[in-house]
Structures are given as structure tokens and as C-alpha cells.
């Protein structure tokens, strides 16, 4: 099942909180654990200097992106990889379809890749009659459940052990009281057969080093190494913002990203892939295809403020700390990238009108900017998109009219105090939800109880 788009965020978030309170428990527990690990891991390094450095490298890359893309293409080509350029999701899927046809591909194994989720790779392959299997354990769980991922790093964190027991009982025949080790062993067996039978492996990329043409991938299970080593063809989808100038720079990003995401010094498995199998090697893919994907990234780059969000390394730290994300997990955001980072890249990549509710899915508490390893000013960019929405007339008309009326009222003290006296007598708890503007606020909140006296009256009488 794929996402329906961000436009229904408010309704979907309210529904999730009302109908699936257990999701909040699972997501909150998982994200608190991720974040505690990050805090511990950052305590072992001079995290401020690492983050300043990483911010500056990423900003440098973005301001020279055309040169580095050309360098990466040259280097990958000389390594024997084939480079493709995709302007849109459709382009990327067409390129994949051609590779599938050329090689008569019947079976695909996939390593976890948010870009492949963004592009809709699985549905496209199924449409071509290709059997496609997610191999990351979390991705495998949600593929069996026909759900999209709810977190960048932990796609199945909204699901409990009990959910997995029931699912694996039905699909893999494990006992209903199986422990996580038994469940993982059953998945390992099922997926091992998939690895050995697959013709094609699909991955994303955490980083692409321009000077060596190296695709760097971080993981803990080993499924990425297997997906990129066993099948005879490997296709890597790489967002154009994933470039890092030098392989030696990648050494730092691997560590900073791992520490930010899971609190490890580095993921237990890292793949550094230069190209296809060489003549002095006994195994590895015969062909490596690298698809450089735009799909809205150049639109985001063109924005005068939000382009900084392209520094993102997809560690999930801002999701983990976000009090709003923790209530619902990622599904209500209606898009591949949820949480604070999703809310600032969606308007640039999808269009502001399409993404509009998301910049409002935040209390602007600012916790996200404190944990971002590349120091993206997330709260500022949330406000940036809110302001743009007002400029472009995308906010509800009643809100604009209401605020203008308030501005007029506020300039006339007599009228202001009279209106206040009336409002204090409105039974907000009963009919408040029907009111314009305020009503929207009260859909998911209890109405405040009005004070007996206005602030001005209390001030005159002397406030304790």
C-alpha cells in the first residue's frame, strides 16, 4: 500500500490518535530509545565540531552540485558502472524497467531505500510481473502487512512484537508464542532463498563519493551487502543530493550518521561499492547501474531558504525527538519522509499546495534543530513555508479574513473590549468547534474555559 499524500494530515493524525493508541506507545518507546542512544554516542565525541564540519561539507557540495555530479559520473563510468539520470519518478521507473527487460529479470531483492519508496519501485515492478522482496527485517514486515514505512530508519516501529507474532504465524507458520529470535530465524530462512534466487538487487545510497565513485551504504543486518553482492545486476537509486566530495569525507559521514541514527560508532555493516565485479574477483554483480534521481530536488534547491534541507543525511534524529511525530508515527504525514524533515522538504519537492498541512504539523518547539547532525534550521524552515503559504493565498480564506478583522478590532480599544466581553460568554466547550479559525484549533483539543474578567480589568484592579 502506498501513501495517499500529505493533504489529509489533520484527519489522518486525529484518526491515528483515536483509533490506534497502541501506535503512540510503540513509536514513543522506539524513538525514545533511538534518541537515548544518540545522546550517549554524541557524548563520546566533540559533537559540535563534527556537526559544524558536516554542515559545511554538505553546504559546499550543494553550492558546487553540478561539478560534483559530473565528477561522480565520470568516476563511476571509469569504474565500470553505468550511470543514468532521472528527472522524475516516472523516468527512474522507466530506466529500471529497461534494465529488467534487458536482463529478463524475474526476481528482485531490495535493500531498504527511502528513495525507492518515494519512487514507488515495488508497485512498478509488480506491474511488470516481477517478484520483488524487501529484505530488511522491518521492511519485510511492512511489505507483508501491505503498509508503507512509518520511520526513516525503523520502518516498522509502529508494530509490536505481538503484531509480528500474528503476522509470522499466518505467513511463515511460526508458533503464536514465538520469541523474536524464532521470528527472525524464520524470516532469515525465507529471505535466504530469495537472495539466492534473485536476478537483480536494488539499493539506495547513504553517500556517493565524487572522487572515487563510491556508493556508501550503512546497515546492521547484512541484507544490503547481500542484495548488492549476490544478484548478477545491482541497481542503486541515488538522490542527487547524496554526493560527498571525497571518499575520505565519507569516513566522517558514516560515523556521524550512525551515531545520530542509532548511537553506534558505525553500522555493523558498511558497503563501499565502486562498480561491478572485476576480473580478479570470484563473485559480485556483473553490472552496476547508478540512477541519479532529481524528482523535485532541484526545485527544493532553487528555494532561497529551504535548499538547506538538502543537507539531510536521513538519520531520523529529528523524528525521534519530535513530540508531534511521537503521537502518530509517520503514516498520517501521507508521504515517504515524515516528521520534521519531511515537513520541510515536502513543500519544495511536491509543491507547497500539495504539502501544505505538513509545515503546521509542529509546535515549533525547536528540539529538532538541536539534534540535527548537519544543523538544518528546521523550525525556521517550517515558519518559512507557513509564510509562503500566506503569501500565495493558500491558507483558508476564513483565516485570512478573521485575522484581518482581528487586526482592525485590536486598533480600536472600545470595540476590542466589547468584543472580548461577548467572547467570554460564548460557551466554547459546547459550540466552539463550529467557530471559524478557533474551531479548527479545537478539533483535537479541549476548549479553554473563559475567564470571568478581561486581562485589562484584572490589570486595573491589580494582579497578584
Amino acid at each position: 500500500m502506498s501513501f495517499s499524500g500529505p493533504t489529509n494530515y489533520r484527519r489522518e493524525a486525529a484518526k491515528a490518535i483515536r483509533d490506534k493508541p497502541e501506535v503512540r506507545d510503540s513509536v514513543t518507546a522506539a524513538t525514545r530509545t533511538f534518541d537515548a542512544h544518540r545522546v550517549h554516542a554524541w557524548g563520546q565525541i566533540d559533537a559540535d565540531r563534527w556537526r559544524d564540519w558536516a554542515r559545511d561539507v554538505k553546504t559546499h557540495v550543494l553550492t558546487h552540485l553540478d561539478e560534483y555530479l559530473e565528477q561522480a559520473e565520470r568516476q563511476l563510468t571509469s569504474n565500470g558502472a553505468r550511470v543514468h539520470w532521472a528527472e522524475s519518478a516516472d523516468d527512474a521507473l522507466t530506466i529500471l524497467g529497461e534494465i529488467v527487460r534487458e536482463h529478463g529479470v524475474k526476481r528482485v531483492v531490495k535493500a531498504k531505500s527511502m528513495l525507492s519508496e518515494e519512487l514507488g519501485v515495488n508497485r512498478h515492478l509488480e506491474g511488470l510481473g516481477v517478484h520483488v522482496r524487501e529484505t530488511d527485517l522491518g521492511e519485510y514486515i511492512i511489505q507483508l502487512l501491505d503498509e508503507p514505512p512509518s520511520h526513516i530508519v525503523g520502518p516498522a516501529i509502529h508494530r509490536s512484537v505481538d503484531d509480528c507474532r500474528k503476522l509470522f504465524h499466518e505467513r511463515l507458520g511460526t508458533p503464536l508464542d514465538a520469541d523474536p529470535d524464532e521470528l527472525a530465524a524464520a524470516a532469515r530462512d525465507a529471505l535466504r532463498a530469495e537472495f539466492l534466487a534473485a536476478d537483480l538487487g536494488i539499493s539506495g545510497a547513504n553517500f556517493l563519493a565524487a572522487d572515487s565513485g563510491t556508493i556508501a551504504l550503512i546497515e546492521n543486518e547484512g541484507n544490503i551487502r547481500l542484495s548488492t553482492s549476490l544478484p548478477r545486476v545491482h541497481v542503486a537509486f541515488v538522490g542527487i543530493e547524496k554526493i560527498v566530495p571525497r571518499l575520505e569525507d565519507v569516513s566522517a559521514f558514516l560515523q556521524l550518521t550512525s551515531r545520530a541514527a542509532t548511537g553506534q560508532p558505525i553500522g555493523n555493516f558498511v558497503s563501499l561499492i565502486q562498480g561491478p565485479r572485476r576480473s580478479d574477483e570470484v563473485d559480485g554483480p556483473e553490472e552496476v547501474h547508478v540512477v541519479l534521481v532529481d524528482n523535485g530536488r532541484t526545485s527544493l534547491l532553487a528555494d532561497e531558504a529551504a535548499w538547506e534541507a538538502l543537507r539531510c543525511v536521513r538519520c531520523g534524529a529529528c523524528l525521534n525527538i519530535c513530540p508531534v511525530y511521537r503521537q502518530t508515527g509517520g503514516h498520517p504525514y501521507g508521504w515517504t519522509y515524515s516528521g520534521p524533515i519531511g515537513a520541510i522538504i515536502a513543500p519544495g519537492m511536491l509543491g507547497l499546495k500539495e504539502a501544505l498541512p505538513l509545515p503546521h504539523a509542529s509546535s515549533l518547539c525547536g528540539a529538532c534543530v538541536d539534534v540535527c547532525p548537519v544543523r538544518i534550521p528546521i523550525p525556521e524552515l517550517l515558519v518559512h513555508w507557513r509564510e509562503k503559504a500566506v503569501e500565495q493565498g493558500l491558507t483558508p480564506r476564513v483565516e485570512t479574513v478573521g485575522l484581518k478583522a482581528y487586526a482592525k478590532l485590536a486598533r480600536r480599544p472600545g470595540l476590542f473590549s466589547a468584543a472580548g466581553a461577548v467572547l467570554r460568554r460564548v460557551p466554547l466547550g459546547l459550540g466552539g468547534r463550529a467557530l471559524p479559525v478557533l474551531g479548527g484549533w479545537m478539533q483535537e483539543r479541549s476548549a479553554p474555559k473563559s475567564s470571568e474578567k478581561s486581562f485589562l480589568q484584572m490589570w486595573k484592579e491589580g494582579i497578584e
Partner: protein, 195 residues
């Protein structure tokens, strides 16, 4: 005009009004001084990540260790660069069915606790086996990952794997399980110090 040219054109257009930012220079791995030697640092992190570490003073000792260790296994997959003295004394099996795999690491990284696995050694023997034994000369331990990558940059195979612990996952209810896809048991055998 190709997709490539259109994308590069849009990138240049987007950057027209933006100031160029310089590369900040080399990553110096800023952190409080650690009292550990590179080898001790490597051992500490590998063990913390769930790996096992054995230290043998010389090749002869490593060979006898391997003979004892292989008592629990009836066959083994063997990496291409494993020298005669470190070939397990059990029948060779293909990695997809072998209960054990033996490889030689090209090097290791102290600051991340990683073993550097070269594709020329054979990837399947590094990945498909449930138990992975990796031999490493202590003089091949780099202090930092940056040093390691700089040193290898003029001799890169199709792929390098950094193995820093056994395969693990917490995707089922955030409970840690080992051996999900790659080896669930990683045994690093450090050789050297007394030849």
C-alpha cells in the same frame, strides 16, 4: 537535450543566486583523547558490538587455535586470500551451505571497531555463513577510518565491506536479535606481537 543536461541546467539555475561555500578541510575526528592503543580500541568496540576477539601471538599459535575452534564444525567456506597455514582442517564447502566461513581482513579500524573486508577475498564467504572467522595482522590496524580509506584509495576493489559486529536487528518490537541475514557470530582473530 538529455535528462542529464536538464538536471544539470536546473542545478546551475538554482545556484545562480547562492554564494559558493568552501570545503571546511579535513575531518580531524575531534573527540576527547582516548587512552587506548589502536589495537585495544578495536578490541573494545568489536566486543561492545557483540563480536568475539581472540589474540594469538604468531601464525603458529593462530593455526593451533583454528584446529581447536574447527572441532565444532564439519565444513567451512574459505576466502581467496587465506594462506595455507590458516585454512581450516575440515572439508571445504560452498558458502551457501557451510556452517563456517574463514576470511582474512585487509585491515581494521580502531575508531569504529571495523574489519575491512575486500571483495577480492570473495564476498559470499564473508556474508552467507552463520559463523565468520576473520584473521587480521595487528600491524594492519588503522587508528581512523579516514586513514584507512586514504591508504586504500589507489587500490580499491569493486566493493569493500566494513564488518563491525555480527548481523543484528531490532525491527521486531525493538528487541535485539542476532544473525538476521549476515553472520550472527563474528570472531576476529588478531595475529601478531610475538613472531
Amino acid at each position: 537535450m538529455s535528462a542529464r543536461d536538464r538536471i544539470l541546467g536546473r542545478v546551475r539555475e538554482a545556484l545562480r543566486e547562492k554564494d559558493s561555500v568552501e570545503h571546511p578541510g579535513n575531518f580531524e575526528g575531534w573527540r576527547p583523547k582516548t587512552p587506548r592503543s589502536p589495537v585495544d580500541g578495536l578490541v573494545h568496540l568489536l566486543e561492545a558490538a557483540g563480536g568475539e576477539v581472540v589474540h594469538q601471538p604468531n601464525l603458529k599459535a593462530a593455526t593451533s587455535w583454528l584446529v581447536t575452534f574447527c572441532g565444532d564444525f564439519d565444513s567451512s567456506a574459505v576466502g581467496e586470500s587465506v594462506p595455507e597455514a590458516l585454512r581450516p582442517p575440515v572439508p571445504v564447502a560452498t558458502p551457501d551451505i557451510a556452517p563456517l566461513g574463514v576470511s582474512v581482513a585487509r585491515g581494521a579500524v580502531a575508531e569504529t571497531g571495523s574489519l575491512i573486508m575486500d571483495a577480492r577475498d570473495g564476498r559470499r564467504a564473508q556474508l552467507l555463513v552463520p559463523t565468520h572467522v576473520v584473521f587480521l595482522r595487528v600491524e594492519h590496524v588503522y587508528a581512523t577510518l579516514r586513514e584507512a580509506l586514504l591508504d586504500m584509495s589507489d587500490d580499491l576493489p569493486s566493493a569493500i565491506g566494513l564488518h563491525s559486529g555480527p548481523s543484528k536487528s531490532a525491527d521486531i518490537g525493538q528487541i535485539l536479535v542476532k544473525g538476521v541475514h549476515g553472520p550472527g557470530r563474528l570472531v576476529a582473530v588478531l595475529i601478531g606481537g610475538d613472531e
